[in-house]
Symmetry: C2
Subunit: 715 residues, 2 copies
Amino acid sequence: MKPEQSDCDLSRFFAPRSVAVIGATDDTTRFGGRLLRQMLKFGYGGKIFPINPRRAEIFGLECYPSVSELPEVPDHAGLIVTGEKVLGVLEECHRVGIPFATVFSAGFSESGTQQGREMQRAVANFARTSGLRVMGPNCYGLINFIDHFAITATHAITGPVEGGGNIGLVSQSGGLGQVNVMWRAMQAGLKINYVVSSGNEADLEAVDFARFMIEVDTTEVVMMALEGLQDGTKFLRMAELAAEREKPLVVLKFGRTEIGSRAAASHTGAMTGSDEVFDAAFRQFGAIRVDDCKDLYETAIALRGRRLPKGRRVASISVSGGNMVQIADIGCDLGFTWKEYSARTQERLATLIPSYGKVSNPTDMTSLATGKPGLFRSALEIITQDDNVDIMVPGFTFARRADLDCAIELCRTSDKSVIVLMTGCCVDDAGMTVERMVADGIPAYRDTLVCLDAVRAAVGYREFLGNFRRQRDLVRPPGVDVQAARALLERAGQASLTERESKQVLAAYGLPVSREMLAGTADEAVAHARVLGGTVALKIESPDIAHKTEAGAVRLHVSGDAHVRAAFGEVIRAARNYRPDARLEGVLVQGMVERGIEMMLGVARDSLFGPVVAAGFGGIHVEVLRDVGYRIAPIDEREARAMLRGLRAYKLLEGVRGQPPRDIDALVDCIVRLSWLAHDLRDRIAEIDVNPLIALERGAVAVDALIVQRDAVTD
Amino acid sequence: MKPEQSDCDLSRFFAPRSVAVIGATDDTTRFGGRLLRQMLKFGYGGKIFPINPRRAEIFGLECYPSVSELPEVPDHAGLIVTGEKVLGVLEECHRVGIPFATVFSAGFSESGTQQGREMQRAVANFARTSGLRVMGPNCYGLINFIDHFAITATHAITGPVEGGGNIGLVSQSGGLGQVNVMWRAMQAGLKINYVVSSGNEADLEAVDFARFMIEVDTTEVVMMALEGLQDGTKFLRMAELAAEREKPLVVLKFGRTEIGSRAAASHTGAMTGSDEVFDAAFRQFGAIRVDDCKDLYETAIALRGRRLPKGRRVASISVSGGNMVQIADIGCDLGFTWKEYSARTQERLATLIPSYGKVSNPTDMTSLATGKPGLFRSALEIITQDDNVDIMVPGFTFARRADLDCAIELCRTSDKSVIVLMTGCCVDDAGMTVERMVADGIPAYRDTLVCLDAVRAAVGYREFLGNFRRQRDLVRPPGVDVQAARALLERAGQASLTERESKQVLAAYGLPVSREMLAGTADEAVAHARVLGGTVALKIESPDIAHKTEAGAVRLHVSGDAHVRAAFGEVIRAARNYRPDARLEGVLVQGMVERGIEMMLGVARDSLFGPVVAAGFGGIHVEVLRDVGYRIAPIDEREARAMLRGLRAYKLLEGVRGQPPRDIDALVDCIVRLSWLAHDLRDRIAEIDVNPLIALERGAVAVDALIVQRDAVTD
């Protein structure tokens, strides 16, 4: 990971007053020729300085042999030179005072060669030390639709595009971003404001460009197509900024699978990271994750316009009953509800269409309403005004313009979310397509599932924002002694803490741990067992034996002096047998915890996002069913509760099969505390495994725990 | 459920030599006018007889007052009359000898009124008794693109469509079928041969129309959009016919959710059935289930052409690296593999492009190959020929015609599956769209996920066909005594069999049950326990106590004469206490089975598909995690094995966390036997619950079981 540069204003990068194109040519079969031709055709209003020592003029522009000989200092330089020459040219750019460069050249870390990696490192170092900010190498440039500045070579744009846009796009890949997302989004009727292809990201990263786009007032949504991230925390800070500004991020993240990661590595050299943690981070910080390129812009259609649905209660109305069956079915699957209309709505509909009797939701208007815009409009308006309705989805198959116009007008004027679904076309105005409606700012869709999936994302984003605002005062819970925990870690002296030491650290953060005492002799064990009362467990305490059960050095359910004494001897013998040179600090005598549900809490360090807290049910739930929740630490109670609720076996905690409900509040508290421990001591902690944490009817108890310090990992 | 009519040849229904339109008019604002106008414009070559007592001529056709006065007997009559008149008109049609009628009229069972239901029942009865076959009521007619016969009123077709088609579509809903599926499929480049909207299905059902389409030689795929089914078994027989002919069925089934079912009931009056069982039936019989209308035709694109992929090994090649990352990622998620190319392929590629070094799969050709069709073609061909490749997906963003042509040619000539993915467009031939390629018979897609999902369906279908062929000799396992089992059920005398009786029935089908003996006295219990040896369980045996544990009338882990004697008394007392009037037949003394994994097998009767066998892990796996597999009985070993493998916790059987593997063959045998029991005695059995079935290291044992006979359900 490279050191973070201080935030930098990218305004002149995106909208330079003048630009140098190093490696420009008039041969449009070559990249440098196509790029320059496109820059001109796109309507750039600033000065363009082609740089090419072998030309005097290109496309009517005066050509210069090098940036050193330019009459003024451009804001931005594009480099289309062979990879080996890049560093020298960047140095020259910096000498003359150019602040921004875009490096198109390939052959860097994506090549997979030692030389390529070294060249990239040199570019990164130069950027950091000089302050010249660099996009690329191996990138595909940018398009600024607002200021008509394009520095790229693509078939996606041919001439000037008027009217600005409100959706930003950051992609590492060029082709995928400019074609699969940008061009397709424009075809779908959306208007883009900025597009970058950030390539290998030796210096400037996807996150930097996203931050710029969020800060531009007109941006309403930012789409990101990522193969990897350089710095998870930086991404999260950017996501927080997006949340503060209420600008949704829609993210496609590749490299989920091994083959995908390998392909990403050889494409932009990106680190792909753990996909489960990405997923958790995205959800936690409100980034909407999608599965394919088209989902990026299809989701953006419902997210634009700063009018997110206020809830999940949908109504729908159509002349096609089949469409209503489908929308009800798909909607229910996606978590929407279809409330009955209020008595007031029924009354109003009854005067309108007396023959209908009670009108159900979704509403099949049947062909009675076909071509009767007055009737359709009235029913649509009455239902949309119903207090039980947050979202109205009028469904059209072959639509009449007049009916569509009713829906469009309502979309513009209603305080509810109105989303138009047209599976066919407009029969009396072929130009009134879904794309046209989208271009006019209307959330409109052709397919039920795509439509409702996007609306679900919009509802979910509104819910996220509500929690995000409440959550801003993320505070450490009471009864946490950071210094004591740190001292315990330092005192431990070695990487893997013993069970007792580990639990002392947990206790310093207020996590409830089993009552236990260390016995050096069998007599002490007997005495301790009497103090603890009832049945006890005996476990070896040794810095050299992390897996006590594997060593056979654990005895459970022991009671009575004679049995305790015998168990002490057995535990010691088993430990000696397992590892003769182990340092034995004694035998831990623990009060047995009553029967409860075995949970597992954990902390791991993610290479990108840092400390991650995990929670799940013990045993097969984690190992076989992979039923585990993750969050980036620290988290609050709401997030911890959501984490538990997200477990497939959550109902076990509520009590099933005659079992009593468990103390979910206590579990939530444990997770929150553990997340703060992971966060506060992230410089020291590599891993924590609290397994089991017993969920009781009242409270919860950590019965075993293991903390591994970071030195152990880097040793 | 209505009695099944014998199969009927629908040729004249779909392609009548002459047709009567009852309720025809020249007013094209009305359904009867639009329908007739469309029939004429669509190029129907047979005779059309408009029926309307108030007209002499419509659109230049001689008009008749009634079918009785026609000069000849038409093959097919369309009814556009008010619902109340339908039955009378059908009777008249039958009198003159018309064999087929399509009833467009509404107001039948979909109205939700008693009158509507009665009218529909009358139509159904008349069809059954007369032999006149009826489509509808409340249907939207049909289109036969092969013979240019359309009897419907839609904006989806305007004039004759040339060139025939190879994809059939059966939909209950008219608008959804004709717009969301048919029109959209045609827009996407597909060619339809037949479309029906079967409406309320008083007589002819979706399945009848699908069967007709399967039997037409030119049909390659049949798409179905169902809100419900009348008869599950009839669907399965149709699906078997489709499998024999190797014609994939792609099915969209609505009414999955409560709201969706309610909407379906008020739309076509369809019974929606249990969605889990639908899912199981579709999978078991090779029907490919999809989630939205567009998935029907998008899947059909990959299924056409009778060239299904031979395996799951994909290769891909593109000039866009980002697309290759995406295809690898999505492909891996969907279960495809990306093998390394063979040494031979590497050698051949090395001579072609020496600079590449080792070429990985998927292959990023980089912009080196842009616009070099010779290079692209050679690489494409070499890789497609690789022995490790079953499927080639060349990926294009902005494509050149020459490169596309290479892929198209390979698609036509290769014995491998070649699927074209073009996320952008063709830059030097705007007409060469994905839709155009599809129209030319090429499997082509715009989106990676949609593309690979469809290809996965094609691979899965080929795998299904392979198993289907092997599976045709579905035979009852040895050691099954059908007569003995039947006799036991008959002898039981009442609905719920006791545990002992239930296990005797299972034993007659060769299922292993725990060793047990019935004791009438404490002395007998002691004697039995000695015979059984080791620890035993004691359970009340009473026809009146189905839930023994709830009654407290079970004692487990009992050993020693004194304990057995005491337990006998306790069990009897608990039973008397629980239900003083219960008939007590004694106490069952069972040998305790060694520890194993608790499984649950079951049989239920589905309202549509009949006996269904279920299998899962016991306890929370069924109740909380809903980790249960279903199949329509009977099944073979392969299917039973697939059922177990489909369980999320399957790994438990293979042995995890130091546990030994379990005898999966024994479990498979139990499931197969139980499925035959469910099938053979389906006239008597309502439910079977084998819970637990203990999976041992060697063998499996049913420790408790309950069989409920059908009388109990209908009582």
